[in-house]
Symmetry: C2
Subunit: 77 residues, 2 copies
DNA sequence: TTATTATATACCCGATAGGGTATAAATCAA
DNA sequence: TTGATTTATACCCTATCGGGTATATAATAA
């Protein structure tokens, strides 16, 4: 199964795992606190380079992924 | 093996597959021609929403992916 | 070669991302 | 409850993204 987690959800959970606050994450990533917040809140117009600065802390980056074919039960192809 | 194709490479190859020009792709995606060019040339500071507008034409979207552990032969862990 | 077509580069400019900061609202612990 | 901590909202401001357009440089075909 292809997970397809949103950036928003991923960052939030990863940050919680590390038990650090938004200001601390912003600091580590070298981005503004406001950016971390907009990211966790799912803003869609973020700049890729900034997002990658944060994702890289978790060994990840933005890449093209297949759109989630909704649940198998939802529709018949 | 996790492909990890860049957005740039993916768009360029997908566009060629469809045998359409940059202006045509820009048109279909609803973005400017300049944007398509910057995208194919690997500009890193693109806005996610705009990139997704284009990727969606190919059934894809931006998502967090694991950073490529370089080739197995390149380095010893 | 010369046309034709596709792609790249350069400019102007409006819109907005993102930084900073201040304040408000949650959340949690005592 | 009250106080401390974390997160959310709102504002100002600069930098720049991205659209449009014009020009330049391939690239391909005749």
């Amino acid at each position: 199964m292809t997970s397809n987690l949103t950036v928003s959800a991923l960052i939030k959970s990863k940050r919680k795992q590390l038990k650090i606050t938004q200001p601390q994450l912003a600091d580590k990533a070298g981005v503004g606190l406001r950016f971390i917040r907009e990211m966790e809140q799912g803003k869609t117009s973020l700049r890729m380079d900034k997002v990658n600065q944060v994702l890289l802390l978790f060994g990840m980056e933005l890449g093209p992924v297949l759109v989630n074919r909704k649940k198998l039960t939802d529709e018949k192809s």
